[in-house]
């Protein structure tokens, strides 16, 4: 019989090497899957995991990794604080949409001005949009005790309806021949979130993502608020004795995660996506929840998890395009990767022991 024995402290060796083991296991399982689908497994795995970083066109893909990872990281960082304190914001997707709408709206209101103040204004408006959308579940929770999971999730669908309405109504491009979708920010330089270093894929959203990682790291390890967040998550009762105001913490955590999701939406809409459109959102807010947990709610972990998720997206696209793998197979592979990553975590927290079958 095999038995798990809890380690007094997580193993450093396994904490570092378990993710690598998971990736290797995914490659094996994925290879078997691809072979079943009639593709060359080695080639498929290389296309997904190797080529985007080291392959022929890596000069392009490396930058794209950051473009894809930045919104995931930015949202996941905000979510992780709330998750640590046991505050469940499942609706980051809605806050992301509202951030994009507010930010884009603020910019488009001044079209075609070239004032240098427009982009900063959009950043503020984007953060505000996400923040105000997250304040709805926060206030309902603190005032009426309404469950924030349900409210934040329902508000995603409301935000989607607003997005559809905005892109075919108020924010529609007046020069767009009646088609839905706003003006493209590429044609509005003062409001365009252009690449700062194009070859590296760095735009303002990437900069903010890195800033968020660093400041959260500092907050959690050095600041009283970080301590309160951790304490509330581990023991709500002890936290109350320590003088933590739970309502304030809810408002802070939801508000911050909303603002960061809103920022992610603003940077995406004014940069890589380019415009508000009916289907502008593509599920970053939900994927970010996975990223947050994959990174063990730790800022550095989230940074790495975001990059890894981005790699599977970009490599997966390449495998579809070059090898004709169906999109479903890539989704399946992502699911497997997550399963393996989560499963091998057991090695860092537990020791596996062989036990003799005791005779009762």
């Amino acid at each position: 019989m095999l038995r798990l024995e809890k380690r007094p402290a997580p193993s450093r060796f396994w904490s570092a090497s378990a993710p690598i083991l998971a990736v290797v296991l995914t490659m094996i399982a994925g290879g078997i899957l691809f072979a079943f689908l009639g593709k060359n497994p080695v080639e498929a795995i290389r296309t997904i995991f190797w080529d985007p970083i080291f392959g022929e066109f890596a000069f392009y893909y490396r930058g794209q990794l950051l473009v894809k990872a930045a919104p995931l990281i930015l949202i996941a960082i905000g979510l992780s604080l709330g998750f640590r304190a046991g505050i469940w914001n499942i609706g980051a997707e809605g806050q992301y949409i509202m951030g994009a709408i507010f930010g884009a709206g603020a910019g488009l209101a001044f079209y075609p001005s070239d004032s240098f103040l427009i982009f900063p204004l959009m950043i503020v408006a984007g953060a505000f949009g996400g923040w105000i959308w997250a304040m709805i579940p926060a206030i309902l929770k603190t005032r009426f005790g309404t469950n924030e999971i349900l409210v934040s999730l329902m508000l995603v669908y409301v935000a989607e309806a607003i997005l559809a309405s905005m892109s075919s109504g108020l924010l529609r491009n007046p020069d767009g021949m009646g088609f839905p979708g706003s003006r493209n920010f590429k044609e509005f330089p003062a409001a365009h979130n252009d690449f700062i270093i194009e070859a590296a894929g760095i735009h303002w959203g990437v900069v903010f993502a890195f800033l968020a990682v660093i400041s959260t790291y500092v907050l959690l390890s050095r600041h009283l608020l970080g301590f309160q967040i951790r304490l509330t998550g581990e023991s709500p009762r002890a936290a109350r004795f320590a003088g933590v105001n739970p309502s304030l913490l809810i408002v802070f955590c939801l508000g911050l995660s909303g603002a960061l999701a809103g920022l992610a939406g603003l940077f995406e809409v004014s940069g890589p996506a380019g415009q508000i459109s009916i289907d502008f959102n593509s599920g970053y807010g939900f994927t970010a929840i996975i990223v947050a947990f994959l990174g063990r709610l730790n800022p550095i972990g989230i940074l790495l998890a975001g990059l890894l998720m981005a790699l599977t997206y970009i490599g997966g696209e390449a495998a579809q395009g070059n090898l004709g793998l169906p999109a479903a197979a890539i989704q399946l592979l992502q699911g497997m990767l997550l399963f393996f990553l989560l499963a091998v975590d057991v090695l860092s927290n537990f020791r596996i022991r062989r036990t003799k079958n005791e005779v009762a």
């Binding site: 349900l150 409210v151 309405s165 994959l294 479903a328 989704q331 997550l338 057991v346």
Partner: protein
Amino acid sequence: MDFSAINPLVLLASIMVASTPIVLAAIGELVVEKAGVLNLGVEGMMITGAVCGFVAAVLSGSPTVGFIAAAIGGALLSLLFGILTQFLQSNQVATGLALTLFGLGLSALVGQGYVGIKAPPTPDIHIPLLADIPVIGRIVFQHDLMVYFSIALIGVVWAVLKYSRIGLILRAVGENHDAAHALGYKVVRIRLLAIMFGGACAGLGGAYLSLIRVPQWTEGMTAGAGWIALAIVVFASWRPWRVLLGAYLFGGVTVLQLNLQAAGIAIPVEYLSMSPYLITILVLVIMSSNRNRAALGAPAALGRSFHASS
């Protein structure tokens, strides 16, 4: 504007059909959560059930076989979640989300050859006498079997949780797994069974979509129904009959808004299309403000992993 075009009886009958997938998935998830496990993979299990049920029904020609296969498919997929969270102690939130991703991919692969095929029809059962009662007969007694099954299932879950020993154990495990373990209950085994029950129910809900409500197979056809089911469990404060209420309320507003549009009621479409979500929030706020916090409570051990140290 013409309200008279909407026949309330027909509307009620449609609401029951539209809500059944959510009822099934939500009551399954309720049992899982009562056992202290949070499985966010409902959407993935539903879509897997939808494809398994559809494929089996097409191959066998029998919807019944389809529903059985859907329940098995959903349960097997949930077992994956069970093994990861119960034996390997993985984080439940992340594992559940991964399960959704996995289920969506798996179902699309399995269903590749089944797009554009028709499922064998499921007959409505016409209960003699009862179905002929004026007014009520039409609403209540002329559906397919699964509508009744879903309501019966709510009743069974309610009775079992409230009155039986199994229910007591399940709740004990969900409230305090360490105490339940100390009393000699097999926490992990009970939770695994609950998880598989939840998977089977979600699978049935998915198959109801692909075999009766839509009925056909298309990739991604659950389109978020699993998330709504999760929300309904919270909405219901983990009480079985309120799951039925919540699901019918949500399904009701969804169907009603389409009916209002069809009748040409002059409310802007955008507001109508967000109404199911807003009304669900509103009702929950009203309910939660009238009640003391303790009564709202989720199972105390919800989402926490259990490891027997001895």
